[in-house]
Amino acid sequence: MPMVSGVKVDLKPDELKYIKKTLGRTPNMVEIGMIDIMWSEHCSYKSSTPVLKMLPTKASYVVAGPGEDAGVIDIGDGMVVTFRIESHNHPSAIVPYDGAATGIGGIVRDILCKGARPVALLDPLRFGSLTSGHSRWLFEYVIKGIADYGNCIGVPTVGGEVEFDDSFETNCLVNVCCLGIGRKEDFVPSKATNVGDVLILMGGSTGRDGLGGVTFASRVLTDKSEEDRPAVQIADPFTKKLIIEATLEAIQTGYVHGLKDLGGGGLTCAASELAGGGGTGVDIDLNKIFLREPGMIPYEIMLSESQERMAFIVDPQGVEAVLNIFKKWEVACAVIGEVTDTEIMRLMKDGEVVGELPAKILDDAPVIPRQTRKPAYIDKLKHIESPELPRNLTETIYQLLGSPNIADMGWVYHQYDHEVGVRTVVKPGQSDAAVLRVLNTDRGIAVTTDGNSRHTYLDPYHGGAGCVAEACRNIVAVGAKPLAMVDALNFGSPEDPEIFWTFSETVRGIADICKVLELPCVGGKVSFYNEDEARKKAVKPSPVLMVVGSLDSLENITTMDFKQGGDLIILLGDTFNELGGSEYYHFIHHLEGGIVPQTDSQREKQVLECIMDAINQKLVTACHDCSKGGLAIAIAKMCMKGNLGAQIDLTPIESPELRMDELLFSESHSRFILSIKKDHLNAIKELADQHSVPVYLLGKVTQEPTFALSYSSGKIKCELDKMKKIWLETIPKIMKG
């Protein structure tokens, strides 16, 4: 790494040349440190920006989209939903407990600084195989970190997902999502537009923890990464709880004109975004900043990523009122600066200017055109020989229920308080998405996350698009209409042309289906450099989607558990020979390869609309989408959730082109399993015809506790008790060691 003015920086030689030319001089220590942070991949998106332009971002109800701290959508009646996804992969891989906890801390601030109360958290996680002690350690402490933080601040963790794959052995992926509900009139921009407004720093003190966290996140992990421990921040959820309440109360005064949390890049990023975004400048007096330890130099103060800090831009008239609110909540605060018309961020210490940079310099980060090359493995792995058909498919279903990627995640979500706030109507494990009610209304918000790294590895385009498809199916399955999404894109180094090709293809897949489904992307996070230098191995490409939907009436809520014996079981959508990247190939045959489920945006749109209509017309008693484990696992889960059996006849969907394992375990898109009342069969068939969706009557729900399937050449019979035992006990058993 090059040395400039006494500090090591990650900036490349041509970037340094450009900086010197722009400033007309060599930046001093604090200045170069600040530019280094702001131009890191983590803050500047210098590699990904051109690719992300493919994503659609507009809809009539979008209040704030990409570029803001969080996406904001209008749900009517003067209410907005604010949501965002973030990654905290690098810190969690080194210090899982604090890494994950501070991930929650950061995402909560992003929601808060748009003026909304954070009301739900979701955590999509990826770890190596649980056969590895290292992965079990990461898994246990990441969950504990999320639980301790989320529980303490009183924001329920209502969803998420976990994937296990060897490629995440050293680089676990910890994505965090938060959703807030607020009034549209309380929306606060992250801008300082009025010259003369006052800059107030509130919350935790500024210390040496988290120094240079974002530059650390923009490097690959090495055996020296343990030395980067000081770059991981320490969590303080109690202070965060006070900050949430104090901030929401301060906004009510009407004096808060701009608001920004201090996250990655600390005060440097916050101040430059506020001033840069507002077309103003800012003077900051470093003597006014409350420090955790004596002797901190400007470089350390400006680069610190100490947690639990917020920057407020306040009308000079309202400073006293705002400070009094902070005092009531016993949170530290100080006036540290003023908005100027200079368009310059100026740092003062002991009456002297110690740093001076154009406020817009963050936006000024040069875009780096990256090389792309299709990896050779993609075509090679596409065509593999089919494995031998298992002799006993009953046994195969039992085995799959014990795969950690399919097994019940109660071990995780029972550690999260998922009910605090009395909004959680559909709770973790009850259905494909969580549903929160909007208090004092009949409205609901559905929210889900979804990712599939195995599909994306083998086919980035369809893998990426498939995540959108599945997440939308999850939303529709509970009776909601998908409104908008945010994405976390977790990849290896963008400097590797093969990885950058994979990244671009994934985004292209996401963008294409979003356009057809009219689903705007209102924000996101790109996390590169998720790779381990020692093993020369990057994580499997992992796009993770968070999709938010709305329910006009809570009466429409539908869950996945079968409700009553005698109800009919219906399949919507067709099944194809698409076992590539399936859990069946992975867990039963240890195979990597094959054709992954192909997305057809139009077909997906039809089935989503069909389900929305069916639920609105109250034709559906239970609904679940087919995903990991295919048709067989989908129905098995509906049985286990409802404590009921099922009698299934597969002959209507048998075909000479499909082997029985392909029929049972293919993870083909655009499919749903429903249960309906007997009397509604014709209505469902008519509705499906109207939407051009294939519909099949597969059988019925039974009181008898068995999951029985028959087909032309055989029978499968699984006992409900045995299925439940395997499914429920897998993760707790592994974690008990």
């Binding site: 303490c152 029972h414 308080d417 009910e419 009610r437």
Partner: protein, 210 residues
């Protein structure tokens, strides 16, 4: 049902003009040192103690129960769960007595469904004190299975004698780990129950009968 209630910031709680006090759940002071211990020293607790002495009903839910125990209004201690993790799930409770300000509308033996959400809820007391609690009919709720049996499988945190809630000897102060407020509306319950409401209905009944 309706009762007038105010949410009061602890530092603003000056005098006991109210008829009853509820200490809700939530990690007061981040559970630093141990759950409830710092809040127990809040000046607000002096007023709560005064209210309890006057015979006014005082209910502590979850962290509120921990605060009542730490401030000496209820006996015993709440230790870390025996599974060593936070546990959030719906449980069954058996009502052990109707004789309290918060259970007078609930039949003895009635099974209630409610969620728990805590990391430190394992009720502990010494043998002699447990005996006294039993003799004085101070054990109000026990964790049970769906048939009302008191089993170790139905005990979510390792609480002694499956104790989920107790009252003081005067029967106007109740602390319990489960959350009745999360089980008071049908829409929030996976079991379509609103059993938690019965505790608040009992409170209303108690206040109206005074």
């Amino acid at each position: 049902m309706h009762m007038d209630a105010d949410l009061i910031w602890h530092a603003y709680f000056r005098d006991s003009e109210y008829n009853a006090a509820i200490l809700p759940g939530g990690f007061s002071y981040g559970d630093h040192l141990r759950a409830g211990i710092i809040a127990a020293f809040s000046p607000a607790m002096d007023i709560v103690k005064e209210m309890a002495k006057e015979g006014k009903p005082v209910l502590g839910i979850c962290n509120g129960f921990q605060i009542l125990v730490e401030s000496g209004l209820l006996p015993g201690a709440l230790l870390q769960n025996d599974c060593l993790t936070f546990v959030c799930k719906w449980v069954h409770l058996r009502t052990e007595t109707s004789n309290s300000a918060f259970t007078n509308e609930i039949e003895k033996g009635a099974i209630l469904k409610m969620p728990i959400a805590h990391g430190e809820g394992r009720y502990f007391n010494e043998e002699n004190s447990l005996k006294e609690l039993n003799e004085n009919d101070q054990i109000v709720f026990r964790y049970c299975d769906e048939n009302g049996e008191i089993t170790s499988e139905a005990n979510p945190n390792g609480a002694f004698e499956n104790i989920a809630g107790i009252c003081n000897i005067e029967r106007n102060v109740l602390g319990l780990m489960p959350h009745p407020e999360r089980a008071s509306e049908l829409i929030l319950s996976p079991y379509r129950s609103s059993d938690g409401l019965k505790i608040f209905q009992s409170l209303k009944q108690f206040l109206e009968g005074r």
